[in-house]
């Protein structure tokens, strides 16, 4: 196979202009391979939440980019991330997606066993390896750990590469969105709850990430779903109380001014968020008893400050989105240049009323499920783009909205700018074109 990009940092850099990106970033198989090697290996990628592995020996199997990994609770109560293969023949170690393995992983093929930090415990008939150089092999080291793991208030991230930015440097101020989500629990803790919605998309993963801060599409692409919800509600006489579905759908049809005024904030390394001043989540009805619980936990000024923050979508570059006000997280898992698995996870605020989780689950079902009409609207646009980008007449994707020459990473801007998309691509180009 010819290689146009692997050894050509100039060609990679040329794919990202100030406010345009070349279509190859979405459709080229070599670019996808390089993304796995350079972007997903060198950044801090979300693995899972530590409430998924509360007890010693609990594990959860997932991926970092294309790499199969598992997250496991070790006997010292820390969370470890291991490459999910037996060092012997490569067999996947986890038998279920999640479960409890006790103190040891035991490979189901030849019964090699390992401690939950990956170190070797035992293997049958060890005499067969005497007088061989086995002890010097990588297999003898046990399961290979991912060296760099960081548990931030329950959110477990990992970096595959040996060298690279440390966790705090990579995320910087963007961690304030996770803080706000966790602080919304009177106990300051979250738990994964309700089940994960998994939606397969035949499009590039970056289209999904970009769409999270695309504030000029809801009133157009979602006219069919959110617009129809409003229409039906009016036809029914707009009686109160407003059904939860209408409360959730209606803000999607807000006018451009609403999105202009909500604001966008960008940070270094491709992170950023919509909803600096308000968001589509700002006007949900109050939940009886919750504010009182928050005041008891934090005092009134702090409780108000936590609940007045209504950030819309926060991007943790490269492939995570967090919605603090409704405790929802979406992970865009790259499977191929034109294939992405979208996982939408929900959280319970520990010690808060159940109703908050109930509303979060309704939101997730109405917006993010493979059976969601809003999801159908979006996926149709992504798949049309994945197809249309093969048109040779114009190889560029345009990101000029509210572009200012010389713009920097740290900024607060008009909510309809495509600045966060440009911010992501600047980070993307830096990782992709780095001299290896």
């Amino acid at each position: 196979m010819t290689s146009r990009y692997r050894d050509n940092p100039q060609a990679l850099s040329a794919l990202v202009r100030d406010a345009e990106v070349h279509r190859d970033v979405y459709i080229d198989p070599e670019i996808f391979t390089l993304e796995m090697e350079r972007l997903f290996a060198n950044t801090w990628v979300y693995v899972g939440h530590d409430s998924q592995v509360p007890n010693t020996g609990d594990y959860f199997g997932t991926t970092i980019g294309a790499q199969p990994v598992l997250m496991v609770r070790h006997e010292d109560s820390t969370v470890h991330v291991l490459y999910n293969r037996c060092p012997h023949k490569g067999t996947r170690i986890t038998t279920e997606t999640c479960g409890n393995t006790g103190r040891f992983f035991r490979c189901p093929y030849h019964a090699w066993s390992f401690r939950t930090d990956g170190s070797p415990a035992a293997l049958p008939l060890p005499s067969g390896y005497e007088n061989t150089p086995f002890a010097d092999s990588q297999a003898a080291q046990g399961m290979t750990p991912v060296r760099h793991v960081h548990n931030y208030r329950g959110f477990v991230f990992a970096r595959l590469s040996v060298d690279g930015p440390d966790f705090a440097t990579f995320f910087g101020e963007s961690l304030s969105s996770i803080d706000n989500m966790v602080d919304r629990s009177p106990a300051g803790r979250l738990e994964v709850a309700g089940g994960v919605l998994r939606y397969m998309h035949n499009c590039n993963w970056k289209m999904l990430v970009e769409n999270q801060t695309d504030t000029c599409h809801p009133m157009v692409a979602h006219m069919s779903s959110a617009g129809t919800a409003i229409e039906l509600w009016k036809r029914a006489g707009s009686q109160n109380p407003k059904p939860m579905a209408v409360e959730i759908y209606a803000p999607f049809m807000s006018p451009y001014e609403f999105f202009e005024n909500m604001g966008i904030r960008t940070w270094d390394n491709g992170h950023g968020h919509t909803g600096v001043h308000h968001s589509i989540h700002s006007n949900y009805s109050a939940v009886p008893g919750y504010f009182e619980q928050m005041v008891a936990a934090y005092g009134e000024p702090r409780a108000k400050a936590i609940l007045d923050e209504n950030r819309h979508n926060t991007i943790y570059f490269p492939n995570l989105m967090v919605k603090g006000p409704i405790q929802l997280l979406r992970l865009f898992k790259p499977l191929g240049p034109d294939r992405t698995l979208v996982e939408s996870w929900t959280f319970r605020l520990v010690d808060a009323p159940d109703f908050l989780l109930e509303r979060t689950l309704v939101y997730n079902r109405l917006i993010n499920a493979p059976t969601s009409v809003v999801g159908h609207d979006d996926l149709e646009m992504y798949e049309r783009a994945q197809e249309g980008l093969h048109a040779d007449g114009n190889p560029w994707v345009n990101l000029h909205r509210l572009y200012q020459p010389g713009e920097t990473a740290l900024a607060v801007d008009n909510g309809t700018t495509e600045r966060q998309m440009r911010n992501q691509f600047r980070a993307w180009a830096r990782y992709m074109a780095a001299e290896i």
């Binding site: 397969m200 779903s225 039906l232 579905a245 059976t371």
Partner: protein, 158 residues
């Protein structure tokens, strides 16, 4: 008086209305507080604090039906089609005194659009009642055999 054969005929007819996209007539089969439920988990019992793929009251069902007709519903240009193949429905509960009937049906459901076609294996449970002598759906529960798999868009009604 309702006979078991009427319940079975009702379930067959419901599938035919969906296949023929006669959605207004289909909506009329539901009781005013009727629901359409597609669980996310195998053997799911809770609808409130466990996610579902669909958990629709008549408002949400009507929203889907109206959306399918919409001029700006781009994910339905061109429209999807669907096809149900039912095993003989089995009457599990026949209780005229309580006006409660439950019918269980195994089926294969096909949804297609453009060059793409998906096949789902389904167990449907119809909780039925009568209103003014007519059979109505209190709850249609649709269990996909692979409910916890990752799916592309499911736009119509298994």
């Amino acid at each position: 008086m309702i006979a078991p054969a009427d319940l079975i005929a009702f379930v067959y007819r419901e599938a035919r209305l969906l296949d023929e996209q006669r959605f207004e007539e289909w909506l009329a089969l539901f009781a005013p507080d009727g629901r359409y439920w597609m669980p996310l988990e195998y053997g799911q019992t809770d609808r409130r604090l466990t996610a579902s793929l669909m958990d629709e009251d008549l408002f949400l069902l009507r929203l889907r039906v109206e959306r399918l007709k919409g001029n700006r519903t781009y994910s339905q240009k061109p429209k999807s089609r669907c096809h149900h193949v039912l095993q003989q429905p089995q009457v599990d509960v026949f209780d005229p005194a309580a006006n409660r009937y439950v019918v269980w049906t195994a089926m294969h459901y096909v949804e297609s659009r453009l060059d793409h076609q998906d096949l789902y294996a389904v167990w449907a449970t119809h909780e039925l009642t009568t209103i003014d002598g007519a059979i109505r759906i209190q709850m249609k529960r649709v269990d996909l055999v692979n409910c916890d798999a990752a799916f592309g868009s499911i736009q119509l009604f298994p």
